[in-house]
Symmetry: C2
Subunit: 409 residues, 2 copies
Amino acid sequence: MPLLDDARSAREASRKLAATPLAGRNAALLAIADALASNSEAIFAANRMDLADAASLPEPLAKRLRYDGHKLQESVAELRALAALPDPLGRALNSTRLADGLELYRVSCPLGVIGMVFESRPDALVQIAALCLKTGNAVLLKGGSEARRTNRALYDVVTRAGNVAPGWCALLESREDVHAMLRLDGYIDLLIPRGSGGFVKFIMDNTKIPVMGHAEGLCHVYVDRDADPDMAVSVVRDSKTQYPAVCNAAETLLIHKDVADRILPMIRAAMPDCEFRDDGWDTEYLDMIISVRTVSGLEEAIAHINRYGSGHTDAIVTSDPAAAARFMDGVDSAGVFWNASTRFADGYRYGLGAEVGVSTGKLHARGPVGMEGLTTYKYKLLGHGDTVGEFADGKRGFKHEPLDRECPL
Amino acid sequence: MPLLDDARSAREASRKLAATPLAGRNAALLAIADALASNSEAIFAANRMDLADAASLPEPLAKRLRYDGHKLQESVAELRALAALPDPLGRALNSTRLADGLELYRVSCPLGVIGMVFESRPDALVQIAALCLKTGNAVLLKGGSEARRTNRALYDVVTRAGNVAPGWCALLESREDVHAMLRLDGYIDLLIPRGSGGFVKFIMDNTKIPVMGHAEGLCHVYVDRDADPDMAVSVVRDSKTQYPAVCNAAETLLIHKDVADRILPMIRAAMPDCEFRDDGWDTEYLDMIISVRTVSGLEEAIAHINRYGSGHTDAIVTSDPAAAARFMDGVDSAGVFWNASTRFADGYRYGLGAEVGVSTGKLHARGPVGMEGLTTYKYKLLGHGDTVGEFADGKRGFKHEPLDRECPL
């Protein structure tokens, strides 16, 4: 089975990549950036053929499929920015002197093999391959069939220029491969799906491999009794309308009953293009539509969010710090915001350097995930022939002193 | 379905627990400690009945089932030690000023609902309930049927004395419940199985809920060409014989061909009660048996470990720092040790304060896991009406300055 061969090669390559120093990984990133620029015509030609075949696709899908000079410049800029970031590997996250001459270091290292499944956008191929390379991971990529020529062209450039270990990056091209890939637990350490909510949910429901991502972004803004009305208007407007098609846009407005009569008309007036609905609390519109519910107070707002929300990002507008604190503790979401737009929930805005994805799961990584999400850690213990028997016999004792330094090897 | 009711109540309780201050959680831990001591006779009586029924059980199982004065004292001491530990919740793991007046805090918080499935040992019930309580998690417990009276007696004490939120701790008692529990993804955030390798593997293979644990501990010691012979003897002996029945004991000895003739006889002589075998590289003996393989060098040792190991803990004995560094980078295990016994791989020895379990998975937590493994984080963003629009328009810019302080609310 070719896929299994790819997975085995990727595992093998991941061991080499894990041992490739930062300079080698960065040089590969820069070589890919240069190769993208010098092979742009072949890539654009492939993309034009994909676009021609996709003439019947709805416009938003066709737009995502487009890979032109602008997209290429973005890819090149991302690769160069990534090469300039510090090494995510080999950092001591913790260090402890267990006893004299016995030092324990918890050191960041790659996860191993990442499986990436994405719809349409071919730029995702370059981005995720680059993130995996920087973090020392091998990667199996499966893109949408409508972008197959563009994906193949980009893949050829990435692997020819980023020649760090044979098989570190594999491209799966058949529909059967994606189903087979979902069964490759034991070969793939983490799956990252990118695409529509239904697509991500399908992946999550049909694999035993850990999945990092979000099927839904059902974000709320709650306007509390003590909200500053103008602030409420601008936070709700920004959360809903600044870019409605994305997962961190608000879908539901909750408003305290004592201020609804006063503030709701202000909000409606500020968002004339937005449709307000009295139901649909479990609907992710991704459009200029917002559900509205008047609540009796903070606790009802929290209960509503915990029931209908997706655990992505939820905001409160209030002048009362105690209400803000209660909201942020009570709402079980990756992001809990006080007097700020839900649209800030994003890896770049958070300052993570690069965004791998947004996770609504609670294990491993939560919320916007940076390169850290593609790493794990191992414990390195450095001794001088130390045995547990000496400690069990009482000849030696544990000290557990923090060392606060990098691992010497 | 009563189990579903339990799970819903646990979810509800988890929200209350997450908002229970440290003092309340610690008071409950101390109350449970006191109640265990004052209800010891009822607990021992229940345990005597379980033991009487278990007369036909093999001795090691019966031993694990015993809950006597010694075990009770251990439980009480663990509860008091746990109450003395600092709060695992509400700590800012990271803090960044995104822009003036816009501060982001990554704050530790509970996972939510933990599912714990354990065989025999009733002391595990007290320990895991206490760890969940300290970390603000609700817990569904399912113990072995052979300990059902002891579990019920302990559970009654734990929930009557540790009365933090109705339903925060539920006891499942039927065999059907465990199967039903494995299907409760959406209600349970993390499953922790404790028991034999086969038992843990069964859990891992039959649920979509994330599982933290290890089905196997197949640990290696590799004696390199440059190993100090006496050190090799004492590290191998301690790794194999100090406590052979546990997951961090060594199962395979790899030895460099150039020193095998000299050092292997010394090792054999130092472990007269141990059986040496030339095969069985995928066998976890948990007994006084060790597989031996002579390898051509460091790379073959690394390849052997990555192929046959369980990703638990592996050690190299060498005087060559370059060989040690290569081994620790090349071996894809949670613990990679230089000149130290594999038996050090343990939460208490690592100084984690309390051990939740040992994970051979790479996601979330790896190796010996402390209370941190029962927590996740959320992002708290504190603003003053900030909108993304202002930044998109270029009216404001991001600063991303580290703040290095706790979240003010």
